[in-house]
């Protein structure tokens, strides 16, 4: 196998291939960074180019674009508080808070390092144990997924910020909105109010840009109108604010490692996606951190956690793709198309029919990460400069990108109206101290939870036994229970400390 891997590297490292890889990475990063344009779009743009290229070259270009795109989203999340891709939604709270403290470069560097670590880690796992992991992933049927989704719903609690109740309300609202569209099992439209556009459901990116990006901009604009802020971000106070020190990296390493594993697991299970991985990683990090109160206010660990997890999905996504031809998310689905154009069918035969392509892909992933690291490390200064422009320039431009980008998704003006609706909704949510991120989590989990729940009940002929049928489900129930328990305990403790500080204040 090692020999094949070396051959893979030999295939990949040619001037032409590296050139296209760099192009793919740059395109992906730029499109991921611009709110409104996404990694998926970058890939869709590149696909026609790959028709007449050789398989290794076209695939590594696409992988490079995907990787770049997922990372690129964190740039705008940190600098503008507007996630460029859904996967970076979890990074925006802490990332932007750090940027406001003048630590934008530090945050971006940490995001980059964590992302690279996540992807390299999952690539190694992919190379070494793809087949056994894929086989294990097969055991996850609708019953197992349902319990996994229940566990994931508990992270709404910790994404909630100050009020868990408000967080749950936000999550429930997200669940509600996720049901707009066709019933996943019966195909009957619901909550569409006879509007044909809504039969397709609400696009995640449209909702995300409106709820998390544009609404945040509205809030910022309001603050500026009250005369608070002039320049967009303060420049870094010390040069230490521009770097990630070895000490900081070591402190966050446990989080990065754990998030990388989480990203791998979520990526290997088809249909889950990097956004869920990011939030799970973030949540796990918050629970085991020594400074959980910092999360949401500028925790470097938080940035590391979500970025490591979402990029780890990049490599792990390929596990179900190569093993069964099942895509982990939309981008992987497009990758299947790219494979097929080259005459290669992703699936169990690919290791026999075209092993050199597979190993070229592995080598390409590793090289893509290195390329991403090199290119971005040196361009950070420029990104940071952008962020220091005056807000009168930045916000209108960002809003323009959001509008155009959302329109570009489906060439649909109604998407734009939908986005504006969500931005107003998000604005009011923020004003009333709700956390829009909880809505996002509910929105993502809704369809996953519902579809798997109903599929499971169909298979079990209506019996709930299926949710306790396998060791996997038992394990998932246990961690769900632990998660709820720690949530309640933290809430209780927070209330106690809150009461104590109130009491102290009153005694004065």
């Amino acid at each position: 196998m090692l020999e094949m891997l070396f051959n893979g590297f030999a295939d990949v490292i040619s001037i032409g291939n590296i050139g296209f890889l760099v192009f793919g990475v740059m395109l992906g990063t730029v499109m991921g960074a611009i709110p409104g344009l996404t990694a998926t779009m970058a890939i869709a743009l590149i696909i026609p180019m790959t028709f007449y290229m050789d398989p290794v070259r076209s695939l590594i270009m696409l992988i490079g674009a995907y990787n770049g795109g997922i990372f690129g989203g964190s740039i705008s999340a940190i600098l503008l508080s507007t996630p460029g891709t859904p996967a970076s939604a979890a990074t925006s709270a802490d990332g932007f808070a750090l940027a406001k403290q003048g630590k934008a470069m530090k945050a971006m560097k940490m995001a980059l390092l964590a992302s690279i670590h996540g992807c390299l880690f999952s690539t190694v796992i992919l190379i070494l144990v793809a087949a056994p992991i894929a086989k294990f992933a097969l055991k996850f049927g609708p019953g197992e997924y349902t319990v996994l989704m229940m566990f994931s719903l508990t992270i709404i609690g910790s994404a909630a910020g100050k009020s868990v109740v408000k967080g749950l309300m936000g999550g429930a609202l997200g669940l509600l909105f996720s049901m707009v569209g066709l019933d996943p099992i019966a195909g009957i439209p619901r909550l569409t109010f006879s509007i044909p556009k809504l039969t397709g459901g609400i696009d995640l990116v449209v909702m995300l840009i409106g709820l998390l990006a544009v609404s945040e901009i509205f809030v910022q604009i309001e603050k500026i109108a009250r005369g608070n802020i002039h320049a967009h971000l303060p420049p870094s106070a010390t040069s230490a604010d521009e770097k990630v020190s070895l000490k900081e990296w070591k402190q966050s390493y446990k989080t990065v490692a754990r998030s990388s594993v989480i990203g791998c697991v979520i990526g290997a299970l088809p249909a889950l996606g990097p956004t869920l991985a990011a939030y799970l990683g973030y949540d796990m990090a918050k629970r085991s951190s020594k400074h959980p109160e910092e999360f949401g206010k500028g925790s470097l660990e938080g940035v590391a956690a979500s970025e490591a997890a979402n990029n780890a999905v990049c490599g792990a996504n390929l596990i179900p793709l190569l093993a069964f031809g099942v895509p982990g998310d939309l981008v992987a689905a497009i990758l299947i198309g790219a494979f097929m154009i080259q005459g290669i069918t992703p699936g169990p035969l690919i290791f026999r029919e075209a092993p050199h392509v597979v190993y070229g892909l592995y080598a390409g992933l590793i090289v893509a990460n290195i390329v991403l690291l090199c290119i971005t490390w040196f361009s950070f200064k420029w990104f940071a400069k952008v962020a220091q422009l005056s807000t009168t320039i930045i916000y209108p431009v960002v809003i323009m990108f959001c509008l155009v980008g959302v329109y570009a998704l489906n060439q649909s003006l109604s998407d734009v109206w939908l986005m504006l609706f969500f931005s107003v909704l998000g604005y009011f949510m923020i004003k009333f101290d709700f956390t829009p991120a909880t809505f996002l989590i509910g929105f993502i989990l809704g369809p996953l939870f519902e579809r798997n729940l109903r599929q499971a009940l169909l298979i079990s002929q209506g019996s709930f036994d299926i949710f306790f049928a396998s060791p996997i489900t038992w394990f998932l129930w246990i961690i769900t229970a632990v998660s709820i328990f720690t949530l309640i305990r933290r809430n209780y403790r927070d209330k106690k400390t809150h009461k104590e500080t109130e009491a102290e204040r009153l005694e004065f």
Partner: protein, 321 residues
């Protein structure tokens, strides 16, 4: 201060000139096509419909002398893209993948605002075959085995929706058994559900199943189409096994009706030539869609007659809307 006014004036002039960009004289004077065309694909990027459309589009670009932009409008079993095409201008610059299923099958089970008569067709260029497969190590060797077991216990099967499930429903009606249908979002997911042992059978296209047939992880027990599968010629069709059902889906290109006859003729000739392009044929073979050709009028006839046929079947099965 003066500089600001100059800049403002400059911008004003530029903006005004934009107005003139939009105006162009009626295209009738120039030869069709005199501007780029748009091809609306009614399924998502990367899928076989999308890839085949891109392939034939690229081949036709050279013949028509104008670029063809692919636009994906996926959703609602392929009907979203068809509706989009119906609402497009009918001069001939908008075409779309008018695939068989959303035109002929889906309208019998859900409300759609179009009928096959709302379009003119350019050609039919690809065929999808369907089949029933079970796990390689399962005890079912034939459809009869599966049906027999269904009488004793609950058997479930996975698929991505219409028209696949019509095959199983035909079995149910003919043999008096009930299967549990577990819907999945895509063919690939339906196939993995079978591999994981969560369901006992899967009904999908050739491309979703063929690699697993080759490795032996799955076993085909019937072809649901009128033809046997090229890669499994020893497996008979459901028709041969005595069931009155044939599910074959077709890929075709169409335009909204009302297109000037001259333009339709030009499109038909161009795409016919495109379908003979060797690079296109190569790509089609690679994505598992051996190229076939049905001219525009024959395709229309096929869709309309097919719709009536399937309509009868669906009504018999009690699935009508």
């Amino acid at each position: 201060m003066k500089k600001q006014y100059l800049v403002l004036a400059f911008i004003l002039i530029l903006s005004i000139s934009l107005v003139f960009v939009g105006c162009s004289s009626k295209q009738a004077a120039k030869k069709f096509p005199s501007q780029p065309l748009t091809l609306i694909v009614n399924y998502g990027g990367g899928g076989s419909t999308d890839l085949s459309a891109r392939a034939i589009g690229q081949a036709a670009e050279k013949i028509l002398g104008q670029p063809i932009t692919i636009v994906n409008k996926a959703g609602a079993s392929g009907t979203t893209g068809i509706i989009e095409l119906q609402n497009s201008k009918n001069e001939g610059y908008f075409l779309g993948t008018t695939t068989f299923s959303p035109l002929a099958i889906v309208p019998h089970t859900q409300q759609v605002p179009y009928t096959p008569e709302d379009f003119e067709y350019i050609l039919g260029y690809g065929q999808y075959l369907y089949g029933i497969a079970v796990k390689g190590d399962s005890p079912y060797k034939t459809v009869k085995d599966l049906v027999a077991d269904a009488k004793k216990k609950a058997i479930s099967y996975s698929s991505s929706g219409f028209p696949n499930i019509l095959a199983m429903i035909a079995l149910e009606k003919a043999d008096g058994v009930k299967f549990t249908y577990v819907p999945y979002a895509s063919g690939a997911e339906a196939a993995t559900a079978l591999l994981g042992g969560h369901v006992q059978a899967v009904v999908q296209n050739v491309s979703d199943i063929e690699s697993f047939l080759k490795t032996g992880e799955m076993r085909l027990i019937a072809s649901c189409s009128a033809k046997r599968w090229d890669i499994a010629p020893e497996i008979s069709t459901l028709k041969e096994q005595g069931y009155n059902i044939d599910i074959t889906s077709w890929l075709g290109l169409g335009v909204p009706k009302g297109i000037p006859a001259e333009n339709l003729k030009i499109l038909r000739e161009a795409f016919k030539k495109a379908s003979e392009d060797p690079a296109y044929i190569e790509i089609m073979k690679r994505i598992g869609l051996p190229p076939v050709y049905l001219d525009g009028d024959a395709y229309k006839k096929f869709v309309i007659e097919g719709s009536v046929e399937i309509g009868k079947v669906i009504k018999e099965m009690g699935l009508g809307k």
